[in-house]
Amino acid sequence: MPEPLSGAPLVIAGKANNALVVHALEARAERLGLYPGQPLANARAMVQPLRVVPADEKADAALLENMADWCDRFTPLVTLDAPDGLYLDISGAAHLFGGEAAMLEDVLTRIAAQGFAIQGAIAGTSLAARALARYRNRTIAPPGGAAKAVSPLPIAALDCDAKALRALRHAGLKSVGQVAQRQPGELAARLGQDFVRRLRVMLGQAQDPLAPRRPLPDLMAEQRFADPVVSRDVTAATLLALAQSLCGLLERQGRGARILQAAFFRADGKTERIAVRMAAPLRDPAVMLRLLNQKLDALADPLDPGFGFDLIRLEAVLAEETKSATVSFDVDANARRQVLFLIDRLSARLGESRVLRFLPQDTHIPEAAAAAIPAQDDDFEDGAWPAPADPPPRPLRLLERPEEISHVVAAVPDAPPARFRWRQCLHEVARAEGPERIAMQWWHHPGATRDYFRVETRSGQRFWLYRDGLYRQAGLAPRWYLQGIFA
């Protein structure tokens, strides 16, 4: 954010404990003696005039998320340290950027170039790096040197609440090193077990694994560009090259990709991702490229390169073992693979929840007897279905929810209707079979017992009707519903 050279000092005010307090402030305001957390009224009394802007925490959080996306280019494991920090796990990644020092320099200058005030540090554990970044900018703690690096830091670096901080001050402890010399038992009794755990992490005596924001890919290939690329041709050629090298990796491990994700990092910080799922493990670059292109074509907003992409990455988010023979002599295995590939193409075009197969469920409730699942999730084999029957006992089609029928006329109270009206059509029943009584699962959802009738109208259409509840249930007129249509 460019610092205004003239005008009143700027502070951002937000609500805390029902009072307006200073949330953040610019360097000029800090020099005038204002500080974060100060009641706004006090700040106004000290400095006049003061430019106050209300805080927007949602926008701040979104900005941090965007920055985390952008930082994915350095390592796939990025974690948020809300409200204003990011952890990057660079284990095994630093050598790609010419060592830790060069990498830290690279990260800091590139973020600073985007107009942020930024501090950073590298250490063996997350909390040690956090403390160093905030109090000893640009420090790199050597392996095993975290304790030595954080010892001189003030106790504020422990990031504990005000009460604990006051307690430590009362005890005469001024630096992290002094706190570390106390017995853990003492500290735990006074400040809680969590404090001791955090202190151990900060001193490098314990690890606190980071939870990744998105699933870590099993394998990936990436291409960096010195100059951002804009043209669609270069993007496509890069994707093909990446697919080839990814397939090489997969082949060496005898695996294939089930979920493929392409990430496009724009030079201006925006990141676009597209993911493709496969029904069977895949390691054919041409097929990968075709699926990705199809997905790109199906995007509602076309991929916008803006000022160009400076990094394109292809990840096998999920890789699975493949069977050794990639091409079989078996005609049918070939046919099966082509059908699976067709399902992949349809899923990429329409979305996986629109390409469905059915699995029988273990229930007698008609509308729940079968589940529709994405066709990619399953092969063509599972499920035990009922045997063919003449005439079929179940309808071919079920309405999404049973529709009430009106003007029901029945000969005797317990009998099926002789005439009814449904969707503005009057139907005369010529034949009826039933009742078939189906009780609802009262332990799941209380519902009345249903008496089902199969009826055939004079014109030959066959419907599945039910009466909701028993006929002589206290004071209720029976209601009739139409639930299904037979072939």
Partner: protein, 266 residues
Amino acid sequence: MNNSAKIAELRHSLARHASGAAGQTAVPLGHAAADRVLGGGLKAGALHEVFAEDWGGGGFALLLAARLTTRLTTRLATRLASARTDRPAPLFWVRGDYAAREYGALDPMGLAALGVDPRGLVMVRAPRPADALAAAGDILACPHVGALLLEMEANPKVLDLTASRRLALAAETSGAGLVLLREGARETPSAAHTRWRARAAPSHPDDDDWGRPRFAVELVRHRSGGVGKFLMEWKSEHGCFDAADHGAVAAAPFHRQADAQGRRAV
């Protein structure tokens, strides 16, 4: 690796040629009179239009498509190599998002009861008619698809004569059976090989109980033969149609026999 792929492909095309020229397979429906008019059976690799006149029409279209899947039997590999069974090639059903709400969602239990294996069915839901046509193009590009049931409500603009020619051509190239189910639609010119009007038919008047599903269908247009009206019954345990002529009283008026051979209905 490429050689073995080639060999697999050759074996496949041999297998197809052995069972008749690709795209020219005729699948008998089981109804003798209808098969005679159709010249042996319903042609796979061609576009067949079914106009549903009531709730029975959709069922007829689905069963027609299921019947067409038997043009190819694939052995879908099981996890246990020994437990292989011959099975019809997969059936794809493409329908719009609102079709399930309007015309009812498929109940696979009912489908299985009709003798059609739900394991071979892939349901594709398309948000717009244009997407349905694009998906149909994808599906017909795969030669291992048994049949495609494409459900279209009313008369969408994208389904014009060109689109129907394209569909017919794609079906011819792939050899898959293509049934276009039209619900609540006007009949407009199309490139269909056959056009049917279908509705449910009542059970025999002398029966108190109902029996097999029955359809009163009318073949109103046939590019290479006659037309006619038929009363069909679906035999679940055999998975085919049959004449619904026991008693023979009701059947007679529907059999306007194929003396119309050679006359082309438009």
